[in-house]
Symmetry: C2
Subunit: 502 residues, 2 copies
C-alpha cells in the first residue's frame, strides 16, 4: 500500500468514526434536554453500545497498518502540516487507546457509573464515608491507567494528557502556583475594600421568556450562528456538537437570577463559537477538532468574562436589557457593571465569581494531584479540603455536600480535568491581551455592538488550527509567551482595582 | 451449536441492531423537529452511514447459521409462540434482505434521493414531464426488486409485502373494490344532501399555545404516556420511536385552523399508543414490533376518527375547549360535531374528510398496481389520474401539483404503501365493532372522559401480540372476520346518515 493510499484510508476511517461520535453527541444532548424520563435506561444502553462500536473502530489493527506506512514517511515530515497533524494525533490516540487493557477499560467504566450513583447518594446524605470506598477504588484504577499509558515524571502527567495533550504537571503546577501567589493578596484586598457592589438588583423578576430572547440575541450578536446551532434548556449547562454545522448550547433559567442563565449562555456560546470556527471540511480529522480543554475553556471564558462582564459590553446591551426587563429600568451602567462583577469568596465552585473561581480550581488540582501521587489518602481528603478552603478563601464548608462532595468529577474518574478550567482563564487572558495588542481598543468596538473583529481574530489565530499545535505551542505562537498567569492577573488587577478602589 | 444457543445469539443480535435502528429514529425525529438548517447535509451522511451499518448487521451470514439450527427445530414448531414468531419473522427479513443484489439496493437508494429532489422541482414547476423519466426508472427498479424477491401472482405482491406482510394484491383489491362500490353511492348521497354542516367555525382564531396545551391534554386523556413520549412541532406530522419507552409524536399549528393540528395530534397519538403498548421487554424482536402498516394505521385512525370525531368525545371535550378558546364560546355540540365531520370531495388526500379519504387511496392503489403490472405507462399517468378523480370524486385537478404530483411516495419508491392507509380504516372499523360488541356502549364511556376501557382492549387484543400474527390473522382472531369493508361502511352510513339526514 502506498503512503497516499494509507493516508486516505486512515482519514476515511476517522471521518466515519466521527459520524458515530457526532451521533453520540446528539444522543447526549437529547438525553439532557428533550428525552422523556422513562427513556433513560434504554438511552444508557444505546450510548454504551455506540461507545463500544466507536472504541472498536478506534482500536482496530487496521489503523496500526496504515500508521506503519505513514509514521516516518515524507507525509509526516512536517508535524504541523495537515497531514503531519493527522498522522501524529491519530497515532497518539491509537497508542493511548490500545495501551489500556480491555479489562481495565471495563472496570473503569463500571466504577465510573457506580461512583456517580454513590456520589449522588453520599451527597444527599452528606456522608463522605459512603463515597470513600469507591473513591479509593477509582484512584487505584486511575493509577493503573497511568501506569498502562506510561509517564515520565508523575502518574498525574498521564491523566492530565487526556484533557490537555502535551501539558505536564510541572508546567501546570508552576503556572497555577504563580497564579495562587498573585491572586490570594488580590482577593484579600478586594474583601477588605469598603466598596461593595450590590448584586441584589439581579435577583429581581426576570421573566424566563425574556431571558431566553435576550440570551439568544446576545449570543447571535457575538457571532453564534443559529442556522448551525440551537439554544435549549437543561439542568447543568453544556455545549454539545452533533456535526460540523450543528452546535447545541444550553442554559437554565431562574426567574429571580439574571446572571446565572445569561452568563452561562455566553459561556456556552463561546464554546459553540470555537466549534463553529473549526474547519468544517476537516470534521472528523484532528485538524478539524478542538486543541484541548484548556483552549476550549479559554474561548468560553473570554466571551463570558473579558467580553460579557466588561463595561463596554453593557454600554451596548443595557439599553436593550431595559427594553426587555422592567427590573432593569432606572439601573445605571455603573450599578449593573458592579452587580455582575461582585467578588465574594464562597463555597461552591460553579457559583464563584471571576476572581475567586481559580482558587476553587487550584484547591482541586492540588488535592487530586496528591491523591494520584499517593501523598494524600482518600480518608484524609475532607480535612485537606477544608484546610485549603480556609487557607485560600478564608471559609470552611459547614458540611460535605457543599464542600468536598460538591463536584461530580472525581466520582466519574475525571482526574486531570479540573486544572483545564484555570488554564482556560490564563489562556483567555493571554489571548485577549494579544488580540488587544493587534486590534487596538476592543471595548470601543463592543460599545458599538461590534464583536466581529475579535471573533475574526480568534477564528484566524485559534479556531482555524484545530489540533495542529498543542495548547502551549498555540499560546507561544499567538502571544509570544508560553502559558503564563501574567496577562490574566494584570487584567484582574486593572478591572477590580477600579471597581473596588484598590 | 445448540438450538438454545443459536436462538440466544439470534435474539441478542437483533436486539443490538435495534439499538442502532432506534438511534436512527432519534436522528430522523431531530431532523424534522429540532435540527439547525445548516446541519442537513451532514445529517444525511450520518443517516446513510447508520443505514449501511444496520444493513450489514441484518445481512450478516451469521444469521443464516443461526437460522439453519432453528428453522424446523422444536423451538420453531409453533409459529405463533414467541420463539416461533421470532424465528419465522427474522428468517423472512433475512431472506428478503439477502435476495436483493447490493447493486440494486444502491441504485434504488440513489434513485429515491434523486426522485424526491426531482419531484420537489417538478411539483414547484407544475411540470409532470420533468418527473416522468425518474418515475419510469423507479418503476423499472421496483419491478426488478419484485423479481429478485419473487412472487406468486403479480410483482405488486412482492412490493405490498414490505408494508403489509402476508397480504396479497388479490385480497386487498377485493376489499378495496368492495369498499369503492359501497362508498361511491354514499358520497353521492352526502353531496346531494341539503344539510350542510359548516366547518367555518373551526377557522376562527385558535392561539397556538392553547392548541398545543389542548392537544396534549387530549392525547394524555386517551392514554398517551408523556413520561415515555413527547409532542413537538414539524412540517409533516409523524410519530417516531427512539426506544421502547420513547415515542415522539408531532403536529403543526395554524392559528386559523383548529382541525388540522388537533386531529393530526390524535392521529399520531394513536400511532404512539400502539408503540407504547407493544411489549417493551421484547423490544428489538419481532414479538415487540408492530404487525403491519395497516394495523398501525388502524390504531391512529380509530383514535382520530371513531373516537376523536364522535359526538360523545366532544360532549366531554367541548366544555374544556370552551375554557381554552374564546372562538368556541357559544358553539353548540351539534355545530361542532357537524363542523369536524363536514364531507366535501376535494383534491388533496391529506386534507380529505373521513368519508372521501379512502377514494383518494383507492385511486392511487389502482394506478400504482397498473404501473407495476405494466398495464399503465408513466406517460399516461396524469390522464389516468384525472379520469379516476372525475369518476370517483366528481372533480378534475386543475394542475399537476394538486393532482398526480401531490404525494411524495412514488418519487421515493414507495410502491405498495398507499393501500395500507385504507386497510387501516377497514381494520379500525372491524376492531371498533368488535370492541363495542365486547365492551358495550363505548360512547357512554367517552362522554365521561373514560378511554381506558377501549385502550385496555386494544392493548390486550392487538398491541400485546407484536408480530405473532399477520394483519389478516389478527383481524380473524379478534373480530371473527377476515379483512372486510363491512363494519367500516356500516359505521359511516350510520354516522353520516344521521348527520346529513340520508
Amino acid at each position: 500500500m502506498s503512503t497516499t493510499a494509507a493516508y486516505e484510508s486512515l482519514c476515511n476511517h476517522a471521518r466515519e468514526t466521527a459520524k458515530l461520535a457526532s451521533i453520540m453527541g446528539l444522543l447526549e444532548w437529547d438525553e439532557r434536554t428533550k428525552m422523556p424520563t422513562a427513556a433513560g435506561e434504554y438511552r444508557a444502553e444505546q450510548i454504551s453500545f455506540l461507545a463500544g462500536e466507536i472504541h472498536k473502530r478506534q482500536t482496530t489493527p487496521q489503523i496500526a497498518g496504515w500508521l506503519d506506512e505513514l509514521v516516518g514517511s515524507p507525509l509526516a515530515a512536517d508535524s504541523h502540516s495537515v497531514e503531519g497533524t493527522v498522522i501524529r494525533q491519530l497515532k497518539r490516540q491509537y497508542d493511548k487507546k490500545t495501551k489500556l487493557p480491555q479489562a481495565l477499560v471495563e472496570e473503569l467504566s463500571r466504577t465510573s457509573v457506580l461512583g456517580q450513583q454513590m456520589w449522588v447518594e453520599a451527597r444527599k446524605a452528606d456522608d463522605f464515608a459512603k463515597f470513600q470506598p469507591l473513591l479509593e477504588k477509582t484512584i487505584e484504577l486511575k493509577r493503573q491507567e497511568a501506569a498502562a499509558i506510561g509517564y515520565k515524571v508523575t502518574p498525574y502527567d498521564a491523566l492530565l494528557d487526556d484533557y490537555e495533550p502535551g501539558a505536564t504537571t510541572a508546567e501546570v503546577a508552576a503556572a497555577l502556583g504563580g497564579l495562587r501567589d498573585a491572586l490570594t493578596p488580590l482577593v484579600e484586598q478586594i474583601v477588605g475594600s469598603s466598596r461593595k457592589p450590590d448584586s441584589e438588583l439581579l435577583k429581581r423578576d426576570f421573566p424566563v421568556d425574556a431571558q431566553e430572547a435576550f440570551g439568544k440575541a446576545a449570543s447571535a450578536a457575538i457571532g453564534f450562528d443559529f442556522n448551525a446551532g440551537r439554544l435549549d434548556t437543561t439542568d447543568h449547562p453544556f455545549c454539545a456538537g452533533a456535526g460540523p454545522h450543528d452546535q447545541r448550547i444550553t442554559t437554565r433559567y431562574n426567574i429571580n437570577d439574571f446572571s446565572d442563565a445569561f452568563f452561562s449562555t455566553l459561556h456556552e456560546a463561546g464554546h459553540g463559537l470555537y466549534e463553529q470556527g473549526l474547519p468544517a471540511d476537516q470534521f472528523g480529522l484532528p485538524t478539524g477538532e478542538a486543541c484541548s480543554l484548556g483552549i476550549h475553556e479559554s474561548q468560553s471564558r473570554m466571551w463570558e468574562n473579558q467580553v460579557g462582564r466588561s463595561r463596554a459590553f453593557w454600554e451596548h446591551f443595557l439599553p436593550k436589557g431595559q427594553q426587555q426587563f422592567a427590573a432593569l429600568k432606572g439601573v445605571s451602567l455603573d450599578q449593573l457593571y458592579g452587580a455582575i462583577n461582585e467578588v465574594r469568596p464562597s463555597l461552591i465552585r460553579v457559583d464563584a465569581d471571576e476572581v475567586t473561581y481559580n482558587l476553587h480550581v487550584l484547591i482541586r488540582f492540588e488535592l487530586e494531584r496528591a491523591l494520584i501521587e499517593n501523598d494524600l489518602q482518600a480518608k484524609d481528603l475532607p480535612a485537606a479540603w477544608n484546610e485549603k478552603y480556609q487557607k485560600y478563601l478564608g471559609i470552611t464548608p459547614p458540611n460535605f455536600a457543599d464542600g468536598v462532595l460538591q463536584d461530580v468529577h472525581w466520582s466519574a474518574g475525571l482526574f486531570g480535568y479540573f486544572p483545564t478550567y484555570s488554564l482556560g482563564n490564563l489562556y483567555a487572558g493571554q489571548f485577549y491581551a494579544a488580540a488587544t495588542k493587534e486590534l487596538g481598543d476592543l471595548p470601543a468596538a463592543f460599545r458599538k455592538g461590534e464583536f466581529q473583529p475579535l471573533l475574526a481574530w480568534l477564528r484566524k489565530n485559534i479556531h482555524a488550527h484545530g489540533q495542529r499545535f498543542s495548547a502551549g505551542e498555540l499560546a507561544l505562537n499567538v502571544t509570544g509567551q508560553p502559558l503564563s498567569h501574567g496577562p490574566w492577573i494584570e487584567q484582574m488587577r486593572a478591572k477590580y482595582g477600579e471597581l473596588y478602589g484598590l
